[in-house]
């Protein structure tokens, strides 16, 4: 096996889980993977208290913190469009979603942006982890979140539209990065407004 990040050959550790095919093979060497650090900050919603977004999101889990290794990972994955790197977190994502009840809804990309990038980075991460999902939202806003201030993000007009019927069930929103939380709150509020019982969010990174 060659590590997807550094390209060096490595020996995957044999385990019983892999032998009986229920554990996913890791696609990176230990040295590269250990550079990603698990996020230990708890996410507070105090920014949203008193706004009409209060209570829209019931819980957020962010898996990794945004460090140098993650920065260069995202650069190669999103900017250089190295789709293969979606496999790096397949195993962790698979474990995170295991035991969670609800319909997984990825945060969508704008269709024009999608053609430009040639792939939806959020969907590909879920695909590689073998997690089934439904596209219930469509992105309507074309402007990029990254270029706005926190205040602008919160006051922005709705970023999404609901495109399929939502039932009184649990939903799990999934996005690659949680920065100010505006995206997740926009989406969660929309789902709640049309009848979702509980909306939880999982993101790969806490920005």
């Amino acid at each position: 096996m060659n590590c997807l990040i550094c390209g060096d050959a490595f020996q995957p550790v044999p385990t019983w889980g892999k032998l009986f095919l229920y554990e996913k093979e890791s696609s990176t060497c230990n040295r590269c993977f250990s550079k990603f650090t698990k996020s230990d900050t708890t996410i507070d919603f105090s920014d949203f208290q008193g706004t009409h977004y209060e209570g829209a999101v019931d819980a957020v889990t962010a898996l990794y913190s945004y460090n140098e290794a993650m920065k260069s990972y995202l650069h190669q994955y999103k900017f250089l469009q190295d789709v293969a790197l979606a496999q790096v977190f397949a195993k962790t994502l698979h474990e995170t979603f295991e035991g969670k009840e609800g319909i997984v809804v990825p945060i969508p990309m704008h269709p024009e942006k999608l053609v430009q990038r040639t792939f939806a980075q959020v969907d590909e991460l879920l695909n590689s982890a073998g997690i089934p999902f439904q596209h219930l939202l469509t992105k309507t806003a074309t402007s990029e979140q990254g270029k706005k201030t926190r205040k602008e993000r919160l006051e922005a007009s709705p970023l999404f539209e609901v495109r399929a019927s939502v039932e009184a069930k649990n939903y799990i929103l999934y996005d690659d990065i949680y920065t100010t939380g505006a995206t997740i709150h926009h989406a969660a509020k929309l789902l709640k407004d049309v009848g979702a019982t509980r909306v939880e969010a999982i993101t790969l990174i806490k920005g």
Binding site: L80, A84, V115, F119
Partner: protein, 441 residues
């Protein structure tokens, strides 16, 4: 026909999405037949005995290693699309991307060249330089085998000047960006009227048609049938001989009848050239420092336990006390990162590599731990060198010769300590020592 477009694309093999020209201009030139389009990835499907065998080929970097191709569902072409991970840092090339090749007349340089160099060659350098020039004129490939610190760059000047005068397009390729930047400032002084471009990852856009191109070997992926003459510096350097595509890139960038010449201290057998000259003396005329062997039994286990082996500890302390800058080469990044103590350390992924080397030169730090990344191209006055684990596979004889070549490069300090700490002497160590002794004879 757009002149700027012609100047830019002549000899290039360029990803369409990355051109600095408007779409309409490119389209018009495609229609008029000046630009030829090539798909980014080629697929050969051979009907094998069991089902189909797919084989991908990258039309830019000529990569054929199959595990470096990845297929996904592409939202642009709306079908399964394959891209090459090998050259992805230069912009992704996939099945649905197009490469531009200039098929019209090649651009020509319009400069009258001037040779402004007043330095003098030693008699040995002079002889090698003349031999190289005669090979270049006969268009026969030449290998210049020169020891580390022999003053190789100067030898190239007369040959390059002659080629430029004849209206040829010349390329000097070297493995690392640091080397290209250093060569760039030197060449600009020596050839003040020539348009010279320096190409490396992250280089700025440069205007006009360059008669002389200085480039990292990697950037040659973006050329095809471009040069009349190519000089490959440090032809044995790690990425070059380990990565076959780089060797193919040199051949691809050369025109069919072009001469390819190599300059190196440690030629490998795979470099086949018609002519050869050897330069076995340093420019200052002193002997090369010969490495000595010293046993360091079980160093790996001790380092694992967080202890520096005694002999190595003493060596480091002695150098620190006498205020001699030193380099310690380690075989793996892991060993480097886990090395006890707080000595500064550098490896390929280290962001401030250049600064740390500068600090060592200025004696702000006593010494530096490093992987083979610093094996060549750096000059530090009066540096002493230790190799830990010299018997390990990564230290080939050519790596060891290059490492030994860091010592005693200046007029003032033509000698210095070079020691191979080992857990058993390897054949490669013997080879390196014998080669250095051979040159001194």
């Amino acid at each position: 026909m757009d002149k700027q477009l012609q100047q830019f694309l002549t000899g290039r093999n360029w990803l369409r999405e990355h051109t600095p020209f408007p779409r309409e201009a490119i389209d018009a030139h495609i229609e008029s037949g000046h630009i030829h389009l090539k798909p980014g990835i080629q697929k050969d499907e051979n009907q094998a005995l069991f089902g189909q065998l797919k084989k991908y080929f990258c039309n830019r970097c000529h990569n054929t290693t199959q595990h470096l191709f990845h297929t996904f569902h592409c939202a642009r072409c709306n079908q399964n699309c394959t891209y090459c991970r090998h050259c992805i840092r230069m912009g992704r090339v996939s099945s649905c991307s197009e490469l531009l090749l200039w098929k019209g007349d090649h651009a020509r340089g319009a400069n009258a060249h001037e040779f402004a160099w007043s330095g003098r060659l030693t008699p040995l350098q002079q002889k090698a330089s003349e031999e190289l020039l005669s090979s270049v004129q006969q268009n026969k490939s030449h290998l210049l085998h020169a020891v580390c610190g022999a003053g190789k760059t100067e030898l190239l000047f007369p040959s390059i000047f002659r080629c430029l005068e004849q209206g040829k397009r010349v390329c000097v390729a070297a493995p690392r960006t640091d080397v290209i930047l250093e060569l760039f400032s030197r060449f600009q002084k020596v050839f003040p009227k020539t348009t010279i471009h320096a190409l490396y990852g992250g280089a700025p856009d440069q205007e006009g048609f360059a008669e002389l191109i200085l480039t990292t070997t990697h950037q040659l992926y973006r050329f095809e049938q471009a040069f009349d003459v190519i000089f490959v510096d440090e032809a044995d350097a790690f990425p070059y001989y380990a990565d076959e595509t780089l060797q193919r890139a040199v051949k691809k960038a050369a025109k069919q009848d072009a001469g390819i010449h190599y300059v190196t201290a440690t030629p490998t057998k795979s470099l086949q050239t018609t002519n050869q000259s050897v330069l076995s003396r340093r420019y200052h005329g002193h002997d090369l420092p010969v490495p000595r062997f010293d046993s360091l039994w079980g160093y790996a286990r001790q380092l694992n336990k967080g202890k520096v082996p005694l002999k190595l500890q003493q060596w480091i302390e002695e150098k620190t006390k006498t205020n001699t800058p030193f380099l310690v080469f380690l075989p793996t990044i892991e060993m480097l990162e886990n090395f006890p103590g707080d000595l500064p350390r550098v490896h390929a992924e280290h962001p401030d590599r250049k600064e740390l080397v500068m600090h060592l030169r200025e004696k702000k730090i006593p010494g530096l731990l490093t992987t083979t990344i610093l094996e060549r191209g750096i000059t530090i006055e009066n540096v002493h060198v230790a190799v830990v684990g010299a018997e390990q596979k990564i230290f080939t004889s050519s790596a060891l010769i290059q490492i030994s070549g860091r010592v005693g490069r200046s007029f003032q300090y033509p000698d210095g300590d070079i020691v191979f700490f080992h857990h058993g002497i390897s054949r490669e160590m013997d080879k390196a020592q014998a080669a250095i002794e051979g040159w001194n004879r």
